[in-house]
Symmetry: C2
Subunit: 347 residues, 2 copies
DNA sequence: GCGGTTTCCGGTAACGTTCCCGGAAGTTGC
DNA sequence: GCAACTTCCGGGAACGTTACCGGAAACCGC
């Protein structure tokens, strides 16, 4: 078919097959009320005409557009790209198309994208919400599923996130097993909910092991490499002797911390152990490789979309899912316990 | 608006504003043929009713769906995620929605996605084509722009790629200026077009500097970290003395090579200099940081979408754009020239 | 005050599809 | 051989919007 030529409609197909358009529609949509040879004739005619069903018209008539929406902070961010991939895979299974937007952590852009999705008549959306007020979303008027760590702000909606509590426990257990019972913490910004949950879980875990949470060193920063770098500098300042173990709340800060250690003339993992959180690909290429807790980003996107499809299909009741994370050992955490065992002659 | 409630149409707005639906449509679509106070009344009514234009209906009637398509090999790949972001930004400027698909380097999946885009009645698409035969695309029936390095296969279509020749020159000039006039090359698979162009440009540049291209060591591999690792092992085997300079055809292979050097007990950049090609984020976190040629991924997506929008708008004539790349110096290339200058007492 | 122009608005027909309804055959049961 | 039922198909309406056309005012110049 050339550019600009009129695309064949179901009426063209009907004429070619010498049936009415109702019959043609029945044949093409897999309905039952039709004889086998008529269907074959229509299908053949459709192929001959190069017919392709117009989804806009289908959407208008049936109210089902066959499109889903996805709003993430930044599609160029590896974590969200991976989540988008999961969402895409699930949508493709359903034969749906996915419209993707990046909000850039800007509530105003987010609102624009929500409006665009509504106007495009998507059947639902997976969203990592930026806006603090649920207003824009409660007025969403169509099913949506939250993805990521902001589910608390919208208590009456389905959500899929990673199990932060389990992840923190996993990390602390690993640190303890390597001989670091009381790691320093590099945390995210004070106003983020994820920070509070992270800190709370660390505290709970410490108490369970008879460690006073108040003795843990903490540094706040802003989830960036530069932030982690500065935080680590401050930590090195505060504790100048002995091995330091650090649990960073994301991988970028962990990598920044690693650079700070190196620039200070110290060594990771000899002088400083670093444990990250996220599982971004870059962690595999640092030296030493970054030991980290990996969030199942793709699975997150996949499951959130599954949940969304279920809701669109009319399944009642909202579900809150928290997926488990995985420890990836690479080399940035020293086994001080082993050294100690060797030193005292234990085995 | 609650879930399940009927969405207000332009007719509801018209009733509320006590005008005909034609008038309401005129008021809302910014046409001229309407008085100012009528328009104001309609706009107010629309806001009161919570009206949002149904893009499906608009698309049906006007033939313009307001949607664009994007097909990349893998949205989870950082390079393509970045390109997707550029495309998204340009689309958003136009008020268009972007449907994103991943082809997974699979022609059959690609064909399915193309069909889905056609059925969704996108107005055009940006595609990094996998399929070798132009068939599926020549039958595309709507404007599309190629993105990436496969433009040669479709000589009569608009395309936006990076300027490989300029990039290779940039890299070689850098290596030469640091005292590496004849680097070893780690290349991609033999059947890829990009490989041939890369090699050809290196040869031209060498000849221009009186170097016999045949003397350059080359290793083939498959664009992966593991491939780069193995290729570097072979290079270390082949040349056991002196400083080795390596120009890898992508960053993943370069990072693999760096790991091989370390595992062999040698040092980058002391014993081996490595120059990458792509500019992926992970290169910033390796140790040493990877010096590389950065492709303008986001700009690629942005420009390709611009070109597409132009074509949709009816601009005649196809354009082939090659964007320049940028050298990012980090620390994986040693300045042997400086050492030599010092050694002979020059300054 | 009258023809001509401008301004503004309403009615109607499309766009391509699906759904509902009714009717024409063919089939079955007795 | 007739009623009841099944199978299959066509006609028409509807989804929400915009484009086109025609007409009613209002305005202008003389």
């Amino acid at each position: 078919m050339k550019r600009g030529e009129r695309r064949p409609t179901i009426i063209d197909v009907a004429k070619l097959a010498e049936v009415s358009k109702s019959t043609a529609a029945r044949a093409l949509s897999g309905a039952t009320d039709i004889s086998e040879d008529t269907r074959a004739r229509v299908v053949k005619a459709a192929r001959a005409a190069g017919y392709e069903r117009n989804h806009l018209a289908v959407g208008m008539r049936s109210g089902r557009s066959g499109m889903l929406g996805l709003i993430v902070p930044d599609i160029a961010n590896p974590f969200w790209a991976e989540a988008a991939r999961g969402a895409q895979d699930r949508a493709a299974e359903e034969g749906a198309s996915l419209i993707v937007f990046s909000s850039d952590w800007d509530p105003e852009r987010e609102a624009r994208h929500v409006r665009a999705l509504r106007q495009a008549r998507v059947e639902g959306a997976v969203v990592n919400p930026i806006s603090d007020n649920a207003d824009e979303f409660s007025r969403f008027g169509l099913p949506f599923v939250l993805i990521g760590s902001s589910a608390e702000r919208f208590p009456d909606h389905a959500s899929v996130g990673s199990d932060i509590a389990q992840a923190v426990r996993l990390g602390l257990d690993h640190l303890v097993s390597k001989g670091h019972p009381a790691p320093a913490l590099i945390l995210g910004p004070k106003n983020r909910l994820a920070r509070a949950r992270f800190l709370r879980t660390v505290h709970e875990h410490s108490v369970a092991r008879d460690i006073d949470p108040q003795t843990l060193l903490t540094e706040d920063c802003d989830y960036s490499v530069e932030g982690g770098y500065a935080a680590m500098q401050r930590l090195l300042e505060r504790q100048q002797i002995g091995h330091i173990a650090v649990f960073a709340a994301n991988d970028l800060m962990a990598l920044g911390a690693m650079m700070a250690v190196r620039d200070a003339g110290r060594s990771c993992p000899v002088d400083v152990s670093i444990l990250g959180f996220d599982g971004i690909p870059a962690g595999a290429f640092s030296w030493p490789g970054l030991t980290t807790i990996e969030k199942p980003a793709r699975e997150l996107g996949y499951r959130a979309t599954s949940e969304l499809i279920g809701e669109i299909g009319g399944r009642a009741g909202i579900e809150r899912t928290y997926l488990p994370c995985r420890l990836v050992e690479r080399g940035s955490v020293a086994d001080v316990a082993a050294d100690r065992r060797q030193a005292v002659g234990v085995r």
